[in-house]
Symmetry: C2
Subunit: 155 residues, 2 copies
Amino acid sequence: MPAKPPAPGFVSLVFEISRLYRLSFGRRAQHLKLTQPQSLALAAIAREPGLTQASLAEKLEVHPVTVTQLIDRLERSGWVSRESHENDRRAFRLHLTEQADPILSKLWALAREARAEAMRGLSEQEQQQLESLLLRVKANLLAEDASPRTRTRAG
Amino acid sequence: MPAKPPAPGFVSLVFEISRLYRLSFGRRAQHLKLTQPQSLALAAIAREPGLTQASLAEKLEVHPVTVTQLIDRLERSGWVSRESHENDRRAFRLHLTEQADPILSKLWALAREARAEAMRGLSEQEQQQLESLLLRVKANLLAEDASPRTRTRAG
DNA sequence: GGCATATCATTAGCGTACTTATGATTTGCC
DNA sequence: GGCAAATCATAAGTACGCTAATGATATGCC
């Protein structure tokens, strides 16, 4: 029998929260027929209409392939349109359709709601503390992520 | 144009850390041909040999369907065996094969390493603080997760 | 101008996770 | 003892993330 496994601790907590929050948001947003990554994509396009898929991938910090599939679905649902780039025939510019407008307003409300629920009982100061600690953890992980090989993110 | 989207903040941090950690672990473990969920499953079986898939699903806090697929792969890789339950012909008991033994020792080392990397620069006290804040967030999310409908987790 | 290289996007294929539905038992209650 | 309900596992379909490979175009350098 090999050595004993280490205690779960911080790491599994992050995973569980990530998963629970995804579920929580999904429950709220299910009548909008939007998942959480889809919502984040819509938000990003709302913030910067006309951005390319590569640029969206950078902002969402996911692989370009993932964006291709994500936009496929959003386009099929009629919320996003790919429009050809005027200077670069390889690229597309992403725009929201008019149908997306009412969805977006509801979306921000849901996001605020889900976030408030997660933060219930934490003082303003504790929230900041949590955020600042998590930022440091993220920086550690980013540091070792940046070196190995070519990554999507610019860093 | 609808209202402005809220600031990213805590939530996206959790997602990013979750994703970055998964990558970090994956990089370390890739020569072992093990992903992170697979590793967690092996660890759980090591802690409690002979447990059923349903019981494993509870421990990993994932859906039983997910465990079915996970064990499919681990069995195909030769690290886990399904053995029929002596009292319940519906169920299987999960056991590690002998081939899994050397992998496991390496695994604990990797997990500790990845965790230390994530925690670099945080004092013992800060780590505990972070863990305790995250626990409260998790409790909030669990509270609303428990009510709606039948969940995998017992609660 | 022309060739090598880089970039944008896609396809194909894998792993993880979910929902919903189904088959096979076991359990509970009368 | 027998039937309804719960439980264990699986199957099918969807979503999302990745890697690797490909096609089309842009860019850079000579």
